[in-house]
Every structure is written in C-alpha cells, then in structure tokens.
C-alpha cells in the first residue's frame, strides 16, 4: 500500500508541479502560443476522445511500431557485423557517418524517388533516423565483449549463431538497450517528421496542421498526446528491459548485498 503510494508520488509529483507552474505563467501571459491548461485539456478531450483517434493516431502508431522494429533489427544486425570486424567497420564507417549527418527532411525527396509516397516512405524516414542510436550502441557494446568470455566461448567451440546469441548479444545487451531506449523516443519524433511529407492524415500530420492553422490549444493537445505515447511506450520498454537485463541488474545489485 505504502509502496504503491510512493510510486504514484514518483509518477505524478513533478508533472503536477510543472503543470502548476505552466498554468501560473500562462494565466499571467497573454501569449497566444501559451494557452491555459484548461484550454489544452478541453482541446485534448475533444480531439482524441473521438474517431480522430482511430483515423489519425492508430495508423501513426502502426507505422511507428513497424519503423521501430525495423530499426531495431537493422541496427542490431548491422551493429553486430560492424562491431565484430575492425575491417568491415573501417570500410563502412565513413559512409554511414556521411548518411547519419544528413537531416531526414532533406532526404525525403530521394526517398520519395526510391520508395514512393505511401506508408513505406514514412517507415523509411523513421528508420533512417532511429537506426543510429541502436547501431552505434550495438557496435560499441559488441566491441567491448569481455575478452576472457570471448576466449571461453571459442575454446568450447561456441561459434556462429550460438556465439551471437549467448555471448555477443547478451553481453552487449546493456548498451543495446540504451540504444533502443533512445531510438524509441526518436521514433516518435520521426513519425511526426515523416508525416510532414506526402501525408493527409496521422498524428504528426495533425500536429503540424494545427500548428500551421494556428490552432494552438489543439497543437499542444497533440504534443501532450505525443508525450503520453512516449511515456506509455517507455513503461512497456522498462518492462521488457527488466526481463532482458534481469541478470545484469541482479549482478549490479548483488555485490551491494541486496
């Protein structure tokens, strides 16, 4: 009971303070771009407790899911290959760094040329941005595999996919999880960016549309929803991470005598 209370406090205290602060400053400012929280809340209810949720939000979430999953597969896959071989890494790193530095918005025309303007383009935009944290973290995690453990695996003939599964991926997993966690938030951001092009619906499209038509409370309501989605996904992620990194957390806690 007490524990649940603390949890709720952890969850809500700071947001409540921040909302209070915002309410205070927006009430004392006549800035058009800072509507009071009640206006935002009203817009939120009106917008998202309607069929818009199904028209705009769900398809966006679907693209988000596909984009994130693809990024994870691609990032981890490529990251393992690059992490394991100095030479492959030397070969590809400059090109990858080149691509990484290019803003997704300016790549969109090229993507339209290559894959068209439908959902696959949007997924590609998401992937093009959020694969990087996963890729980089995987590379670094793989590079840092404990040499004693790697030697052990080699001696016992643990090769190929087993080696990948039981040695490389597992020991890199703390760092891979860091990458995935970053990518999750980026995926939401990129979902919005992707819907700035060749769209006619979607949550990102809606937010940009509100912004352009100066429907400011609605725009903030969209951002709040983005934040909530981010929060919900991160709770899910936390859960998944707890399972994947259970050993790691135990290991770190063990020596503290817990």
């Amino acid at each position: 009971m007490r524990r649940a209370g603390t949890k709720v406090l952890h969850l809500l205290l700071l947001p409540a303070l921040l909302i209070g602060l915002y309410a205070y400053s927006s009430a004392n400012s006549d800035s058009y771009y800072m509507p009071t929280p009640d206006l935002i809340a009203a817009a939120f209810v009106e917008l998202w407790f309607s069929e818009r949720f199904f028209v705009d939000v769900l398809p966006s979430l679907a693209r988000l899911a596909v984009g994130f999953t693809l990024s994870a597969v691609l990032g981890v896959g490529l990251g393992v290959v690059l992490g394991l071989s100095t030479r492959v890494r030397a070969l590809f790193e400059p090109v990858l760094e080149f691509l990484r530095a290019i803003p997704p918005p300016v790549l969109v025309p090229l993507m339209i040329l290559l894959v068209g303007i439908d959902d696959s383009m949007k997924v590609l935009v998401i992937v093009s941005g959020c694969v990087w944290p996963i890729l980089l973290n995987t590379v670094e995690g793989v590079r840092a595999v404990d040499p004693v453990l790697a030697d052990t695996a080699r001696c016992y003939g643990i090769n190929g996919t087993t080696r990948l599964r039981v040695l490389v991926l597992r020991s890199a997993s703390p760092q891979i999880m860091a990458g995935l966690r970053l990518a999750l938030a980026l995926a939401i951001i990129l979902m919005v960016i992707s819907e700035m092009f060749a769209s006619s619906s979607g949550l990102g499209f809606a937010v940009v549309q509100f912004q352009r038509s100066f429907a400011i409370p609605e725009m903030w309501a969209g951002m709040v929803l983005l934040g909530m989605i981010g929060f919900a996904l991160s709770v899910l992620f936390e859960f998944a991470e707890g399972r994947v990194l259970g050993w790691y957390r135990g290991l770190r806690a063990a020596n503290r005598g817990e």
């Binding site: 400059p94 080149f98 290559l114």
Partner: protein, 286 residues
Amino acid sequence: MTETTTQGTARERPEAPAGAGGRPRGAARTGPNKPLLGAVGIVAFLGMWEAVPHLGLVSERFLPPASTVLAALAQRATTPGLWIAVGDTLIGWGLGLAIAFVAAVLLGFAMGALPRVRAFTNSTVDFLRPIPSVALIPLAILLYGTDLRSTLLLVVYACFWLIYIQVLYGVADVDPVAEQTARSYGLGRLARIRYVVWPTTLPYLMTGVRLAAAVALILAITAQLIIGSPGIGQEIAVAQSSGAVSSVYALIVATGALGVLINIGVRVLERRVLRWHTSVRGEATA
C-alpha cells in the same frame, strides 16, 4: 558472419598471425589500411551513386550523378558563401552541443548519484523526450526570434536527451567491485564520480556524443531550413525552393562531409580517452 565469428575476439584481433620469419605482420596489415578502407567505402558509395542515374534507375533530373553534384560543390566551394554558411552552421552546432553536453552530464551524474530524486523525474523525462524539436519551432521563434538562440534551443533540446540517457545507462554500469574498492579506501562521493563512475560512463558518453554530434548538425540545419536563420540549412531551403537539384545535393554532400569530419574527430578523442577500454585496447595496434 562465420568468418568473423571464428576469428573475431577483441583480444585476439591485434595480434599478428605468425609469419614465417616470426615478424608481426598484423600492425602492418590493419594499421595504415584503416583510412584507406574508409576511402574505399566512400569511393564505392560514390560509384553506386554515379551509376544509379546513368543506368536510368532514377531520372538524372531528380538525382544528378555524383560527378555533377561534386562539381557543383567544388564550384560552390570557391565562393565565400558556402564557407560562411558552414561557419554559421558550425557555430550553432558547437554551441548547442556543448550546452547539451554540459547540462546532460551534470544532470546525468547527479541523477545517477541520487536515485531517489531520479525516481521523481522519470515520468517527466519520458513524457518530454518524444516531443519533437521541430514542433517546438514556433515556440522557439516566439521566444528568441530567428537568431542563433532559436537554433540553439532546438539543438540543445534534441541533444540533451541523447546524452542524458546514455549517461544514465553508463552510470548504472559501474562494476560493484570497483565501486566497493573505492568506498573502502575512503573515496568520497566526488572522488568516486571522478575516478570510478566517470571512466565507466565514458564509453557510453562517447557514444552519446557521437550520436548527439550528428543530431546537433541535423537540427542546426533543420532549424535554418525552417526558420531561415543563416547557415547551410538556409542555403538548402533557397536551393530547394528554386528547384536547383544539383545545388541541393551539393549542400547535402557538404553536410555529410561535415558529419564524417566530426566523427573522425570524436574517434580520435575516443582513442585517447578510452585507450584502456576493451573496445579500444583490443585494436590498439591497429
């Protein structure tokens, strides 16, 4: 895959296979070839790019071949305009990255050291992180107009989270035995941060910096693109709205080249500060 798995441990890589004369060959083979391999990669990439429009896979009007774009870039590089734009972009990039770095590191270490406080911030952090920088543009303009500070706001907002999250994971990675050693020898909290937590976090931080360096560049340029403050982004915007396709790609190439240079810088730094780390020491001779 099988090739790399049978011979790819971090420790083993630097060692040379025995030559007939017993002279180590490894250093000679992997060492100087690294930049060369990178150059090969770039050349292959440019070759593919050159081929795609020539083969008619994509119309030359929309994706000019690499040679055309590089020529356009070379031509631009003779004018001061490009260099001024690069300079403007790098200022926004560097300042934004530096601010994000300092803020994220300070806060990350503070939160790592104060898990109780951190528990109160998690929900807010998770809520704020997915809010896209680009959606903050009107707010930025309203607050700071079109000057550098708007760009900085966007750059800092996006980069801060990247570094912050990396630092949190890094701080959590401290080896308990090392931590206990430090505590038992009476190292205070600050000393432990400096001598134990900081080095453990460094690899994570370096990855964070590499990520953030590119994101900072991306956002500096996106901000210029949308807000119109001077820099490469604005040049891209002008070229785009003029339908000057080669110019757009030339500027993109300039951006990518900046990214490559920045990464080289970070890698050099990494080899210095992480020479003790498994990921680097395994390749020390390479």
